[in-house]
Each structure stands twice: as C-alpha cells, then as structure tokens.
C-alpha cells in the first residue's frame, strides 16, 4: 500500500492546528515517522483540550462516580442511572459556548442536537431537554442579541424534533458579556436490556456511516472550542455547524428502531471531531482497529479531501458497527426513514485507525494513541489575586434600606430572579405529554408512562459564589440542585455537569477549577449523588478576562409515587408556613448586594454545612412522603423574602409572616444562607410536622400563615418579642406578579 506522505509538512503547521512542539514530537515518536497532513489534523483534534481533557482529566478523577444505582458512569456518550422496574435514565450535559458567542442561533441549536444524539446513541428515547444559560447584562444590545438568538436556536431545534425543553436556568452578569455560556442537558428513558455503547467490537463487523451527508461545515470546531475568543473569532464562523432538526428527528427514530432490531454492536454520535473521534474512540474502547475507505462516505459536495471528511463536524450523523450479515436489514430501516446508511469499512484486529481513499492509504495510526495517549498536563495552580479584594466587604458600610418593599420589588424585577416565562414560552415544554411540573418551579417533573414514577430534573450553579469561593460554590451548586429536587418530592440520584472556566494555562483559573471540583466532589459524596459524566469547557475568556467559574450541575431525581409529588405554590388559606434551616447574615455574593447596592460579586459567599444540608433534605423529603407538606420551596437568590413572594405568586394567594429580628433586617429578608426550605402544612398536620422535625433534629422556625391577597412581613424586636411588630413589607401579590412576570419581556422589547 502506498502512503500518501509525499507532501512534507511545513514547519509550524502543527501550531496552526493548536499543537505544541512537544506534542508534535510525541506524535512523531508514536508513529516512528512524521505524520502526514491528514494524520496531523486527526491528532490535533483528538488531542485538543475539548476532546482529550488533557488538563482536566487528573482533576476530574476526584469525582465520586460509583453507586449501586449507577449503571453507566463517565466515559460513554451519556451516564445511566437505574430507576427500578428494569428502567433507567440516560443523561448528559454539554457546552456549546464558543459557537453560540459567534452565531447564537446555530450555536445553541446544534448544542441541543449534539446532546440529544449523546442520549439516543445509548438507545434511550430523549424525554426532556434542559438548559443552563449565562449572558452579560440585558442592558447591552449585544447581550439581547445573543440571548434572543440562543433562545430561538434552542426553541427551533428542540420544538421541531419534539423533545420538550422543561427547565433550566438563565443568569445574567457582566462577566459573561462577550463569552456567553450555553449548556444543554438531555434526559432519556431506556430499558436496561436496550443499553448500547460506543464500542467497535467483533473483528470483521461492518462499520456504517448513517444519517446526514458529510459537508465542509464545522471543520476544526473542537480546536476552536479549545482557545480563547478574540476579535478574529467572528472569522471562524465557518467552524460553527448548521443544524437540521428534521434530519435529527429521522435519525432518532431510525437509530432507536435499528437498536431494537438487534443488529447493532456499537454506536456513537459524530459530535466534536466528527468521523475522527467516533471511529477512534469506538475502536479504542473495544481494543480493536477500524479501517475505512473515505471514498465511500456520502458527501454533500464534490472534491472533499480526506482531511475535510475526517474533520468535518456536519451534524446529524452517526457511526454504527453492526453484526456482519445484517447490513441489509440496517439499510432497510434507514431507507424507511429516508436516510442513508453506507458501509464504509470494518473492524480489524490490529488496533490501527486506517483510512484509505480507494486503494491508497491516506492515514494510519494506532487508535489508542489518539485517545489514551493524549498528553496529560498537571498545570500549575495558585490562588488568584482578585480574591482578597473581591472578598473584602464590611457590612457596616452597607446601609440598611429604608424601603424594603421597593427592594423586594426591585429584586423581583431583576432578570436573575424575574420570571423566565419569556424564555420558556418559546420552548415546547409539553410535547410528549409527560410534563407534570412545568418550567418555573424548583425542579421540573416528568411522569414515566405506565408507572407511578416521576423523574425530577434541575440544573444549578451560582457562579458569583464560585467566583468568590469556588470550593463553597462547587458544593452549593450540587446541594442546591439536590434541594430543588427534594422540594418536588424526589430523591436525588446522580449528576452530570458542565464545567465552564477560563484559560487553564493561567494558574488562577486552574486553582478555581481544582477548588470547584473538590467542593462538588465532597457534596456529591455526602448527598450520594455520583457523577455520571459531563463536559469541561475551558478558554471561556474574552480579551484575557475569564468568565466567573461556572461549574453547572444537572441532576436527576426519582419520585417513586407521583401522588406524593410536591410543588412550590402556596395552596390554601390557613396553611401554616415553616422554614426549615437557619438564616444567617450571609449577604456576600448576593443578588441583593448586586441589585440594591451595586456590589456585584462582593464579599464572602454563604457557607454550606453539608451535614446540615443532608439533614434538611432528608427530613423535608420524608415529611413530603408522609403527606405532611403541601408546598416546598428552596430559598436561594433573593433570600427568604423572594422565596415567599414566589410561593405567593405561583399560588395566587398571600401570606402573613412574623419573624424575630435577631439579625439585621436586610439579612433576615435577603440573605442567601444555604440549607433552607420554606414549607407549608395544613393546620391539622402542623403539630405532627413540628414533632417530626423536632425529632429529626433539624432547625426550623414557624413563619406565619397563608391567606389574603398580600404578602405581609412583620418583624419583632429581638430584645422584646412581646412588643409591637413592625410591618416592613405589605405588597399585593398581583402587583408583585406583574413586576416579576413582565420584567424580562419589557427588557427584550
């Protein structure tokens, strides 16, 4: 066979592809010769940060990944967790930050498309999508453009393919002005026996390319994702792929049908680094080799080179290894769905990824070298300099507001707290007819048809906390996601994550990353929610400034009996309101400081006592399961006052609250202390609930009563609890609702 190696590489070619001199030398050592242009391209994408995790891998090893209910941990296309009765949930989260910064509609749309494929490639039918989004301030025209584009991209793709977008989060802070974050999570349902993996086993088995044809879009997308955004980034728009949700819908149905047919040995999505990553990863996992004739790959245009075919990130394609002799059955199924399925090669026993064009070998390299022998970097880390100044906060200099009503109204209208209806109204969140709790609640809940079970989902990360203390912030991201699920009556099972950070070659960013992962790991251990996979997105910077460290958590929980689900809305007049947990003077990094005092991400963020957190979650969940709780809502951004306002708004009913002013009033109302859940119970059950919580040993306070049309909060002097209560807030629920509901729509007009 003739190697197409006549063209000598120009010095520096590897640098243009993002490889260092040392990395290039390592490739030469592995091959025993200089790579040709195609091989170099393949190495460069596989060894890019995005595909190889060369910086993050040593740190990610800290994550707990095992548990009795974990059927598939990290390393596959998606994680899988058992939900009983032979059923399981496959889920995964991924970033599409850089493409969305350049081309918001397609960037976000293909982010959704990619994460859907990760789930259905496992054999699971996607039942829900969630999104975690970060943008700059809505005051800026550019942010409004990006925000609007991302939302319609998600809507355009998800609505068309018919998977409901049921929840997520949107957060605005100046830190994300030039580098928005777009993280998409997909959740699928699967029977244990249908689980498929990305393995190319069985020497001689045919390798098929199915789905869309390969075009010239998205070439070097993975490399683009592994560098900082710059003025020139807009020129890389061709590295952004274009999505076709209709094609993906056909691919989804065809893949699930072909998996059911029993013909499939292994299957993998062609995501980042397309045909390259799917082929070498499948071979590497199985310890085999793959040989492909690129001349057979269906393409959109003539004259595409092997380099382009291997590096294209054209969407809606899969690589499938099928049992020998079943090719025709597979083709028939794809033809039924008007899709192509073409045999392009076969599994071999020599461990090589060998690419030919007809008779001519155009590239040949060990598959495992591309995946397992990628360089690993122990990058230096040190506490960043900004921290000491950012954490400095003397509350003595923060005046307490005279008008708490105005503060509450301003917080309700702040984009980070205001209703996200403008967003989720554009998402089809009901298709599939499983959505029991719609977006806008703590966690979204889907039923599992044919059972009494429900799946609860949430995404979470307060990046301000992570900026001020990535360790605590990482813990809180996990704990809050779990708390959200508990509020819906679900037992948290496992997480996926999307770790969005700046340039890891900077010791300060690397320090943030390590601290956050350590914090998350600790929380995952304590709450028994192992990590089943995820995604790392570095280089989220613009002009040398990193975004807030944003380790987003996506969590899955199980409700055994949907009759015992819980929602946040206040239900009936006369119900008693309790708060489980304790409020402390923890205003650092709060929404209150940012909105009211113009202090964005200042001070020390709230602390999280993991044992207390677990106790609070455990006892509230049990109380819900015992039927003692009529509503439950997590206290988070905006503190107790905002949490109560949200309970009132969603329930369309008021409440009367009395609280002892044991700490400064603004902290009592707006502090973001962790491990707090506001719950209600009927008057008949209040004694039993109080007894139960007392026996469980969790701190709680009785706050007041549901009723009326206003939220009325009165404070009692701590020194003389018998004195006259001072009413600090007395607002009609309808007035609060209008401000809260209209705020984002008004800004987007």
């Amino acid at each position: 066979m003739a190697h197409q190696n006549d063209e000598k590489l120009k010095p520096g070619t590897w640098k243009e592809m993002g490889l260092t001199d040392e990395e290039f030398q390592k490739i030469v050592d592995i091959l025993g010769r200089e790579p040709n242009f195609v091989e170099l391209g393949i190495f460069s994408v596989m060894w890019s940060e995005h595909c190889s995790y060369k910086t993050s891998r040593p740190v990610l090893n800290l994550f707990p990944t095992e548990g009795e209910h974990i059927l598939q941990g990290p390393g596959e296309n998606a994680g899988i967790v058992d939900i009983g009765d032979g059923q399981a949930v496959a889920f995964k989260m991924e970033s599409h930050n850089h493409p969305s910064a350049i081309e918001p509609y397609q960037g976000a749309a293909t982010g959704v498309g990619g994460i859907l494929r990760d789930v259905f490639t496992m054999g699971a039918r996607p039942i829900a999508v969630l999104n975690s989004l970060r943008f700059g301030s809505l005051e800026s025209a550019r942010t409004r453009y990006l925000f609007g584009g991302v939302v319609s991209g998600i809507s355009g793709y998800g609505n068309c393919i018919g998977v409901p977008t049921v929840g997520g989060e949107v957060f605005f802070a100046p830190s994300y002005e030039e580098n928005p974050l777009v993280n998409a999570m997909c959740v699928g349902l699967i029977d244990h026996q249908d689980i498929k993996k990305g393995v190319a086993s069985g020497v001689g088995n045919p390798v098929m390319v199915v789905g869309a044809r390969t075009g010239r879009d998205g070439i070097h997308g993975a490399t683009f994702a592994s560098e900082e955004l710059s003025e020139e980034s807009a020129d890389k728009r061709p590295a952004v792929q274009v999505g076709d949700p209709f094609m993906e819908k056909l691919l989804l149905e065809a893949c699930l049908e072909v998996i059911k047919s029993g013909c499939v040995v292994g299957i993998q999505d062609m995501g980042a680094a397309g045909l390259t990553s799917s082929s070498c990863e499948m071979a590497s996992r199985a310890g085999t080799g793959i040989e492909m004739d690129l001349a057979l790959v269906p393409r959109r245009e003539k004259g595409m080179t092997p380099y382009e075919l291997m590096l294209s990130e054209s969407q809606e394609r899969m690589l499938v290894v099928v049992k020998e002799g079943t090719e025709d059955t597979v083709k028939e199924i794809f033809t039924k769905w008007d899709l192509e399925a073409v045999v392009v090669g076969q599994v071999t026993d020599d461990g090589m990824l060998r690419l030919t064009e007809g008779e001519q070998v155009v590239a040949e390299m060990p598959a495992q070298a591309l995946t397992d022998e990628a360089p690993v970097y122990q990058r230096p880390y040190s506490e960043p300099e900004y921290l000491s100044e950012a954490r400095e906060l003397s509350l003595v200099n923060v005046p307490q507001p005279d008008d708490n009503e105005k503060v509450l109204m301003d917080l309700l209208a702040a984009p980070n707290i205001a209703s996200k209806e403008w967003v989720y109204r554009q998402y089809d969140h009901m298709v599939g007819t499983n959505t029991v709790v719609r977006p806008g609640s703590d966690g979204s809940v889907l039923r599992v048809k044919g059972t009494k079970k429900g799946i609860a989902l949430s995404t979470d990360c307060n990046a301000r906390y992570c900026y001020l203390n990535p360790y605590e912030g990482g813990k809180i991201a996990v704990a809050e996601a779990a708390r959200n699920l508990v509020c819906s009556g679900a037992k948290p099972l496992a997480i996926t994550n999307c770790l969005n950070f700046g340039n890891p070659e900077k010791p300060g960013v690397m320090w943030q990353f390590r601290q956050a992962v350590q914090g998350m790991s600790e929380a995952c251990r304590q709450l028994n929610t192992p990590v089943t996979g995820g995604n790392v997105s570095f280089y989220n910077e613009t002009r040398g400034t990193a975004v807030y460290p944003t380790p987003t958590v996506g969590m899955v929980g199980l409700i055994e009996d949907l009759d015992k689900r819980c929602t946040q809305d206040f239900k009936d007049a006369g119900d008693i309101i309790l708060m489980v947990g304790e409020t402390k003077v923890e205003l650092g990094g709060s929404e209150y400081l940012s909105v009211v005092h113009g202090m964005e991400a200042k001070g020390t963020p709230p602390e999280l006592d993991l044992e207390l957190e677990q106790q609070v979650q455990q006892s509230v969940l049990e109380a819900i399961q015992k039927g003692l709780v009529k509503s439950a809502h997590d206290c988070s951004e905006g503190g107790l006052a905002v949490a109560l306002a949200e309970c009132c708004i969603s329930g369309g009913i008021g409440a009367e609250i009395y609280s002892i002013e044991s700490i400064r009033g603004d902290a009592l109302l707006f502090s973001e202390s962790q491990s707090r859940i506001a719950i209600t119970t009927s008057e008949n059950n209040v004694a039993e609930l109080i007894n139960y919580l007392t026996a469980a040993g969790v701190p709680f306070t009785r706050l007041g009563t549901v009723g009326g049309s206003n939220l009325k909060i009165s404070l009692l002097d701590a020194g003389c609890a018998t004195g006259r209560p001072r009413t600090v807030i007395n607002l009609p629920v309808s007035e609060m609702e209008n401000r809260w509901r209209e705020a984002i729509a008004c800004l987007m007009k």
Partner: protein, 233 residues
C-alpha cells in the same frame, strides 16, 4: 370504533395523540404510515402536530403530497371523521380540506402556553359533548398559528357556523388580548361545511389526563366516540 394516527416524517405529537385517544376512549388506535394509501377499517383519522418534513417550506406544504393524503381526502369526502391538530390543521389547509392559510405568529415567536377556547359550535362530531359556549383550557405550541382567510371566506365560515373554537379568557370573553397569535377573528379551530373535518391549533391531546394538571381536552375524544356510537346505532 377504530382511530388512526397518521405519521409523517417529522410528526412529533403522533405518540401523544395515540396515548390520549387510548386514555380517553379505551378504543383501538393504530399508527398510519405516510406512505399508506389505504384507510379501510378506520373510523376517525387524526393528523397530529409536529414539523412534517421539517416545515422548512410553508408549513404543511410538503406533507400534503404524501400518498396518505389522497386517501385522507377521499376518506373525508366519504364522510369520515378527520381531526387535524396543530401541524395537522396546517396540512388540512394545504390539502384544501379546510379553507384559509396559516401565517407566522404575529410576535414572530414560537408560543407554548395554556389558552382558553370558547366552544362556538357544539354541533360538530368533535364537540358534541360540550355545553353551548363551554370554555376549555387547552395549550397551544406553535410558531405558525396565525390563521388567515379572505373576507368572503370569513363571512362564509361565520354564516355556516364553521368557526368551532375561538381564543377567549377563562369566562369565554373573546378580546384582542386573549388572541395569542393574531389569528383573524380569534379563530383557534374551524370545520368544513359538512362538519366531519376539524382543524385546530391547540392541542387537546396534551390535556386529556388529570395527572398533567388538566383534562379539558378529553371531552373532544369522548365526543368523537359518542358521535360514532350514535351513527352506528
């Protein structure tokens, strides 16, 4: 009674319709592949929501040419019951089984939310069990639900009592504010002159079970069954 749910490439509410029909009527229901041209044995055909053929051209414009549509047209002409929901309604317009056309929502965004529908005609097979002027809470989910027709056609629709649903508030009052997408005359659903073909943008199959927080849509599937039973007897 046997229901059929047509599956076009890109249909995505087919399984939801299938499930809702079963849950609401407990009658047999089958999927009908778009390449089928024989509808023998079916008593009611549902064209479900979704994005048939991606709807990259005018919505419903390509699905109308599926082999199954000739059969659906014949089925309708023979008096068979045909219900088009959302994309199904759009396909019925393109196929000429119902008059008018669909435009983008007037705010140019996809809209997914609950709407209230005033039942303007409870004499159709699809609304037979509804009270006069009953209000149903039914969600919409569409980007192109802005129904339009010429003045003449609108007059005809009104005179023949073909406007079956209008977007209203929870008390049945129809105002510009209750119209989510800019549809002419707040039209949410219309039927043909004979009353056996109904197209509607809202999704009754999404609200046919209490577990989903709303079972108002159930009455439509039960109405279809009741009509059929009356006919057979």
């Amino acid at each position: 009674m046997k229901f059929g749910v047509v599956v076009f490439p890109g249909s995505n509410c087919d399984a939801d319709c299938f499930h809702a029909v079963q849950a609401a009527t407990n009658e047999p229901v089958e999927y009908i592949w778009h390449k089928t041209d024989n509808l023998e044995g079916f008593d009611c055909i549902i064209l479900p929501g979704g994005f048939s053929y991606g709807d990259y051209l005018r919505v419903g414009a390509i699905a109308r040419f599926s082999p199954v549509m000739d059969a659906v047209i014949n089925f309708a002409k023979g008096g068979g019951l045909v219900l088009g929901i959302c994309n199904g309604f759009q396909v019925l317009l393109e196929a000429g089984l119902l008059p008018g056309a669909m435009r983008r929502n007037d705010n140019l965004q996809f809209i997914c939310e609950d709407t209230f529908l005033k039942v303007e005609n409870n004499g159709t097979p699809f609304t037979a069990l509804c009270q006069e002027n009953q209000v149903l809470k039914v969600p919409v989910a569409h980007g192109d639900g802005n129904y339009y027709c010429g003045e003449e056609t609108l007059k005809e629709l009104q005179q023949n009592n073909q406007v079956v649903f209008r977007y209203s508030d929870s008390t049945g009052e129809v105002t510009p504010k209750t119209n989510p997408n800019g549809s002419i005359d707040s039209i949410a659903g219309i039927c043909n002159k004979e009353g056996n073909v109904l197209g509607m943008m809202p999704h009754p199959e999404r609200c046919a079970e209490e577990l989903l927080g709303n079972a108002d849509g159930e009455i439509m599937f039960k109405s279809i069954l009741a009509t059929w039973q009356r006919r057979v007897r």
